[in-house]
Symmetry: C2
């Protein structure tokens, strides 16, 4: 009898999958286990490029062809779950050594008239669909059809592979500060490493294997957990009240809206200098003003101030590089109940200073645990009714991720903007993530399409809020 | 204290959902219950239109605006599951009386160079993503950017709302045979009914409520089930062997490929007349030849012939209109092991005649039960391992759906093609559905993107197979 799948069948060979890593760390698999169609667990980024001056009509087609032909691919872009179906047990990674690049790298176009509005509409659509677990967990769109002649790249990668910060760092690693550098790697590739360093996950997980996690958790609980919980409570005590329940803290759907805009870093810097606060404080005050105006428009401003969860880097000066990512989660009082922009900025500054002071007094283990408590919330949010019946620990995440300091280029095209599109958790219908990019701050606003109507209005309000802060500060100085 | 959601909040009002239909019939909810991301349970259709001669540059924009402004919407397009999350219990429908039309009706564009190839690539992408259960279960894309100046509409609707035949009928109902008729309803609308007939589901379910189903099943089993099972076995006995396991009968992923092409109805009709067989026999012989060539290319042709499941209308002449849809599922021997096209056609013709004869001898209840047995397979296919460990009851579904007999128009644009995109079940990685359309037969080939590489080749092979049949028949006549 003839064999139905001959070993020499080209297709069978092409789909050869080598299971190399028997188990995912829990810190990775968690993002697969809690994912539902209402909560896609991927991070995204929208990059906007200006074509080189000498670009001909076939520029994009040639670029696409060149990228498809490249064999530069980071290992992490070959990983897929070994068993795509959700099981309650362990999840293993497999390496797909001959993935279908044409599936992952997509050619897309904007409908007429090809404004940023059409680009954001499409980005929202893409950001709201689930990645296919039978394949490596990423999609990248090369987008043509912008009326101003620019082009865009929308990237989407599962949180189990990279968190948002790592994904932005990875994208930055594909860029160059030299417009003449035409050998930039594809968005899924990497630059060759002279030291032959391991090319795996962008940033090592805090806890690296399932067994290790269990052992560590067993070893530290309950005594250390108690310490961490007390520290956490002390932190919340510095806040005026618990986070109020708002229209942003509702069960969410799977569809997304996305809005994006750049503001001059110099404007923010001048306000910060004049007010004697940090640039991030000014950014938070912009968000506060925008959220206040938006919620007033929606007739949904709570009496109590909104509380933002603000991830901050807590690397100690004495820790060196070995400490890896030390990210703490501060809770910041956004003072949205106050009408005066200067008073909001002052409250935000005080709240952030208190939080940082607390963290500076924690041991590294306590810091780790504090982060763990925030992450643990992920595990319970999919339980039906959980969101409806509990007060949110915070109202939204506002994240400020360091980006490139110089004007960057990718194969001669200059990077006009890099806008992060984030994960939304249940009960968290809005996320604001921004990144610095040369002379700009690039804001990406991700919202649940059902719960956050007229998301674009937040851009207008951010603009107003910055102008108000400039006005308030110059009034204060005169 | 201020209320967070004021009843007058425009957004809250806009999302008002009135639960009107407490329970879905099981025949509907089944399609929601068995749906996973590997098995999207929606049907689709791709319509290709030529713009009217006098269309200006703003034709599509004006058309889109007109459609968005229309308030003509069939009730079925307002239905969504009352509780979006899958529960093992009953599922109820809710009516969304103010849905976000902008979400469901999407404006899309093809990337350069805007060939049919780019259109099919996009269609495959859209057909492989899940509908959002928080909203009425449909999406319709208006597609611009075809290089030949035509435009397309891709429609996607959940099987729980309409089966594929009903969806095609519904779309036909929005067309006109008059190019001057500029009042055609939108793809989600309907023409006013002079008799004030109920505008609900396109075709009434065979079994209309959960309770009714249970009662009927309890009333007929086990005696009648035994009769039906015996009839079913007798039917399979007319086939030379059980369906072989092939590369098409594997667990499938969620991503899809789609291929589409039209063939002249006249060519098929001439072969049928010359060979003394039905037109559908010729269509099945085209598919048989194409599948044989494709499987040879993939080095995966089984020794035993492929078995197709072919839905056929079994309306009796004496039953009148009251019988509703009487669809039987014939199993057809495709004779793919034979090299001679004429011999394949003869075997197919004999197999179809045997099957129809068997069905003609069944009582209506037995026919219903036979269909039920085929549908019941849906319920077990998501069980892990089921597909791997059992022989498939058939290798693929080939469905021939009657379409419009005349050249049709939609708001002045002439319909060039209407290509069905079908549901794939687990273990069924390929589906061929075609519909008659004026002087053409429009074939839509839907495949699992992972399991069916080079799907477009099947179009080439269909073309070759038709030419071979023409040659074989004319040889036989000479």
């Amino acid at each position: 009898m003839r064999k139905l799948w001959h070993p020499a069948c080209p297709h069978a060979a092409a789909r050869k999958v080598v299971p190399t890593m028997p188990f995912m760390p829990v810190t990775d698999s968690m993002f697969l286990l809690v994912e539902t169609r209402e909560h896609p667990m991927h991070v995204g980024g929208l990059q906007l490029f200006k074509k080189p001056e000498d670009a001909g009509p076939d520029y994009l087609r040639d670029l696409r062809r060149k990228l498809l032909d490249s064999d530069n691919m980071r290992d992490v872009f070959r990983r897929r779950p070994a068993r795509p179906v959700n099981t309650a047990g362990h999840i293993a990674w497999a390496t797909d050594n001959d993935l279908e690049l044409d599936y992952h790298f997509r050619h897309s176009a904007l409908p007429q008239p090809g404004r940023i509005r059409e680009l954001l509409e499409l980005t929202g659509r893409w950001h709201g669909t689930l990645l296919d677990r039978h394949r490596p967990l990423w999609e990248i769109h090369l987008v043509e059809g912008l009326q101003d002649g620019r082009f865009a790249i929308y990237s989407k990668i599962h949180h189990a592979l990279m968190d948002g910060v790592s994904a932005l760092r990875h994208l930055q690693g594909t860029l160059s500060d030299d417009p003449a550098d035409l050998d930039c790697p594809p968005p899924w590739g990497s630059r060759p490493k002279p030291d032959g360093g391991r090319d795996g996950k962008a940033s090592p997980s805090i806890l690296s294997t399932f067994g290790k996690t269990v052992n560590q958790l067993a070893g530290i609980a309950p005594a250390a957990m108690k310490v961490a919980r007390e520290a956490f409570q002390e932190h919340t005590l510095t806040l005026p009240a618990q986070a109020p329940k708002t229209m942003l803290n509702v069960p969410i759907g799977g569809a997304r809206r996305f809005a994006a805009q750049s503001w001059s870093l110099d404007r923010v810097r001048k306000v910060a200098t004049a007010a004697g606060v940090s640039r991030n404080d000014v950014v938070l005050a912009m968000c506060s003003g925008a959220l206040r105006d938006y919620l007033i428009e929606q007739n949904a401003l709570p009496d109590a101030p909104l509380i933002a969860m603000v991830p901050v880097s807590l690397r100690r000066k004495d820790s060196g590089d070995a400490a890896g990512n030390n990210i703490g989660a501060l809770l910041c009082n956004l003072a949205t109940q106050l009408t005066d922009p200067a008073a909001r900025l002052a409250t935000i500054n005080a709240s952030m200073r208190n939080g940082k002071k607390l963290f500076s007094e924690l041991t590294p283990l306590q810091t780790l645990l504090l982060s763990g408590i925030n992450v643990a919330q992920l595990g319970v949010s999919p339980i039906p009714g959980f969101v409806n019946n509990t007060k949110p620990p915070f109202n939204l995440v506002i994240s400020n991720v360091p980006g490139p300091r110089k004007q960057m280029y990718w194969n001669g095209a200059s990077l006009d903007g890099i806008y992060p599109a984030s994960v939304l958790l249940d009960g968290q219908a809005l996320n604001i993530t921004l990144t610095s990019n040369g002379d700009n701050l690039d804001f990406g606003v991700t919202g649940c399409r059902r719960s956050v109507p007229h998301l674009q209005r937040i851009l207008t309000h951010l603009d107003t809020a910055l102008a108000e802060l400039e006005h308030a500060v110059s009034l204060g100085r005169s």
